[in-house]
């Protein structure tokens, strides 16, 4: 009995400490970028056509290995090896997906780390499909380096259906340990990036993220770059722009176009969520709007009953609610429960909510929500037409996502960098190959691709800065506006 009481007290004390820590993160993050668990993200089913299920590349060698199991819920492990199509993902498991061909000397692998199961799968899988398409097209065009063909080596960083930084870090270790991996596309979430960046940097393995938007990852003025790039080399690149642009652009749109004056700001207490909420709130106040209580209100992860939070919001009588965070932390449910207490209020969010799970969770009430995405809407770009056609013709089960074009672009930049390093390719020196690819990516200045002209600045950030704004109309995310910042 005594033992049980002590055990109970100990457990409760641990729980309390962890919660105080996360709550503190929530209150102090108002002005300064704070290191805390995070996230960034998104993908949206745009008004894309349903995949015309036709050509599945027959000549491809595909192996699907499915391994179940995670730190939190140990499951019986099972491994299935065989020929299958990549789009057939087993939902309850963390799939390792390998797609590619062998050259006469062997393969060069491009790693992919995205959340591809659970609530985050509607973000992750359409994004992974972009990489797969790029690799298949490159292989169809011949060997990238004489004797070598490309292979996609994809791991899932979701645990229990939600992106997990620890899982991401362990995936990064697996990629680093494989000498044939020369570059990585991913991750999707800024919190995962924080865990992976120091590892990848020390291994000098370049990665291009299609979707990380947290600004503290790359910009030295936030004082965290020493942690994320200990060697000082730039190994982390991204093809989407950052939350110090995305958050304020959302605020401008709400204030100028939607004519809202008062906002109640919520966040999911993760790096991405807090970051974008604070950026949004600052800009909204600067424009002359009112932010209720002057700061963002943290909503603990795993909250499912929003009644009392909604009461508090209703009493504050704002014009609309802004939420910084990802759907997998509960905002779809929040939107659904808004029906009872605030039937006509608008919900505005960042790229973390612009995806299919939000529509599923929100049901009919998802309509009328707005969201920003730090990427161009490919359906609006003439350059992207060939890509979209190829995507639809491939027969992927998942429709094009908001970040599919970004991941296609990221993979193509890595492939171009591999080609550029072909003359000095080594059969045995993995470190030299990785450095050659990294240097070629860093030197990218005006890559003409499907999302415009991409180059990387000295921090590894893209010079192609675009924010798209979406609204839910008839239960589908529909692009309503697009803004371009600086660069090309």
């Amino acid at each position: 009995m005594k033992v049980i009481k002590r055990l109970g007290t100990l457990t409760a004390a641990l729980l309390l400490t962890s919660m105080i820590l996360s709550a503190c993160g929530g209150t102090t993050a108002t002005n300064t970028p704070v290191p805390a668990p995070t996230t960034a993200a998104v993908a949206s089913p745009t008004a894309a056509a349903a995949p015309a299920a036709t050509a599945t590349t027959a000549a491809m060698v595909m192996t699907t290995t499915i391994s179940t199991g995670s730190a939190a819920t140990p499951t019986a492990g099972m491994a299935v090896t065989g020929t299958s199509t990549i789009s057939a993902t087993a939902i309850p498991s963390a799939p390792t997906v390998v797609v590619g061909e062998k050259g006469s000397k062997g393969v060069i692998k491009i790693a992919v780390d995205l959340p591809t199961s659970g609530a985050d799968a509607s973000d992750g899988i359409p994004t992974r499909n972009g990489v797969q398409l790029a690799i298949e097209q490159a292989n169809a065009a011949g060997e990238v380096v004489p004797g070598y063909k490309l292979e996609m080596y994809a791991l899932d960083d979701a645990v229990n259906g939600v992106h997990d930084p620890q899982q991401g870090a362990s995936n990064a270790d697996q990629f680093i340990a494989d000498d044939t991996v020369v570059g990585m596309v991913g991750p999707f979430n800024s919190s995962v990036a924080k865990a992976e960046m120091p590892k990848l940097n020390q291994a000098n393995l370049a990665n291009i993220s299609p979707a990380n938007t947290n600004e503290t990852l790359t910009k030295p003025e936030y004082g965290q770059t020493k942690t994320y790039r200990p060697t000082g080399n730039i190994t982390y690149f991204r093809v989407c722009t950052t939350d110090d642009i995305q958050g304020p652009e959302g605020a401008d749109y709400a204030f100028d176009k939607l004519k809202f004056k008062t906002v109640y700001v919520l966040d999911d207490q993760e790096t991405y969520g807090q970051g974008i909420s604070n950026n949004f709130a600052k800009e909204f106040a600067k424009k002359g709007g009112t932010v209720v209580d002057g700061n963002s209100h943290g909503v603990p992860k795993g909250t499912t009953d929003f009644k009392s939070i909604l009461d508090t919001i209703a009493a504050a009588k704002p014009d609309f609610v802004y939420y910084g965070g990802t759907t997998s932390n509960g905002i779809g449910l929040f939107r659904k429960q808004m029906k009872d207490k605030l039937p006509s209020m608008v919900l505005f969010g960042g790229d973390g909510i612009v995806e299919k799970q939000f529509l599923d969770d929100g049901g009919d009430n998802a309509n009328g929500a707005y969201g920003t995405v730090a990427a161009v809407d490919a359906t609006k770009l003439p350059e992207a037409k060939a890509f979209i056609d190829a995507y639809n013709a491939h027969g992927f089960k998942e429709a094009l996502g908001a970040y599919s074009a970004n991941s296609y672009e990221a993979a193509n930049i890595i492939i171009a960098s591999i080609k550029a390093s072909a003359s000095k390719w080594s059969d045995s020196d993995a470190a030299a190959n990785r450095e050659a690819v990294r240097a070629a990516i860093a030197a990218t200045k005006d890559y003409h691709g499907v999302i415009g002209v991409t180059g990387f600045d000295t921090n590894g950030d893209t010079t192609n800065k675009i924010i798209s704004i979406y609204e839910v109309v008839s239960n589908a995310w529909t692009v309503v506006d697009q803004a371009r910042f600086g660069g090309q």
């Binding site: 007290t9 140990p74 009392s308 449910l333």
Partner: protein, 313 residues
């Protein structure tokens, strides 16, 4: 003031679900002095079972099509809900009995730590069953009740489903209390809780009584599962553990082993959560709730109403 009353009402609604789950913890603790960590996951499975039963009755559970689910008006809806409640409770109760048979009965005379560990193992197993069944993402629950709220005053409103939640929870609690206090089986339960060996000598079928306790605890968890789904509109395989932890706090707050204590504790935790969301900050709500758990465990381990069971030395 209106806001306070509104939060109080919402707290009571939240709390009644915690109270139902807390009863399962407290009854099992009262009788075998075991903290059944798998109980939260039994609640989660109960919710999935109820969802399946709703499906059998033809209620559309497609997330994209949630409005106007039951055709035919008020009474058919009510009948379907009541039948679903009963069937889901029964099936969940059977899961509770199985858990006891598999994980606890073989360890009845083992050291105290052994069943505690098998409880944690059972909790993982049930979570994984939930994950394999419905996948790792949250599953949408149909909307069966008329949407919208009844305005008591301009600032105070109550939703139809909230009334349903509180009415069903209170009814179940009254039935349980009557059963335990007024029936022969209830008397056997109380006797077993007081003294296992003496009850055996008095001719009480102790094993059967313990099984019955698990069955009733799981029945209530199954009911809580359906009620939770209909009021929150979502269920995920990880929710069981989270809700279970809060319900456990409620049971400890009221005095673990004490049935009216668990009900009181549940309502109090719900109200504290609502008040903390309003007057402190939603970011601090879990801190407040689990802070209470620590305070109670250190300052008044027997809980607000005290334990009914004398400690077995």
């Amino acid at each position: 003031m209106e806001l306070f009353v509104q939060q109080l009402l919402d707290g009571i609604v939240k709390g009644s679900i915690y109270a139902l789950i807390a009863l399962g913890y407290t009854m099992v603790y009262g009788i075998v002095e075991l903290i059944n960590f798998a109980h939260g996951d039994i609640f989660m499975l109960g919710s999935f079972i109820a969802l399946a039963v709703l499906g059998w009755f033809g209620v559309a559970i497609n997330p994209q099509n949630q409005a106007g689910l039951v055709q035919g008006g008020f009474f058919p809806t009510l009948i379907i809900i009541v039948l679903t409640l009963l069937i889901a409770m029964l099936l969940t109760g059977i899961i509770g009995v199985l858990v006891e048979r598999i994980a606890y009965r073989p360890l009845r005379n083992a050291p105290r730590l052994a069943p505690l560990i098998s409880a944690i193992g059972m909790s993982f197993i049930l979570q994984n069953i939930g994950q394999i069944w419905h996948g790792p993402a949250a599953v949408s629950y149909p909307e069966v009740f008329p949407t919208g709220t009844i305005h008591v005053t301009s600032g105070i409103s109550v939703a139809w489903k909230d009334i349903f939640v509180v009415v069903v929870c209170v009814m179940l609690m009254v039935i349980l209390q009557t059963f335990v206090q007024r029936t022969k089986l209830g008397k056997a339960m109380r006797a077993t809780a007081q003294d296992y060996d003496t009850s055996k000598l008095m001719g009480i079928n102790v094993n059967m009584t313990i099984t019955l306790t698990f069955f009733i605890g799981a029945l209530l968890a199954g009911a809580a599962g359906l009620i939770y789904g209909l009021s929150i509109h979502s269920m995920q395989f990880t929710i069981g553990a989270q809700a279970g932890l809060k319900a456990f706090t409620a049971a400890v707050l009221g005095g673990i082993g004490n049935i009216p204590g668990a009900m009181l504790g549940g309502f109090l935790i719900g109200i504290v959560e609502a008040m903390s969301d309003q007057y402190i900050s939603s970011a601090w709500t879990p801190v407040v709730v689990f802070g209470i758990l620590i305070l109670i465990l250190t300052l008044r381990p027997s809980g607000l109403l005290g334990q009914q069971v004398p400690e077995r030395a």
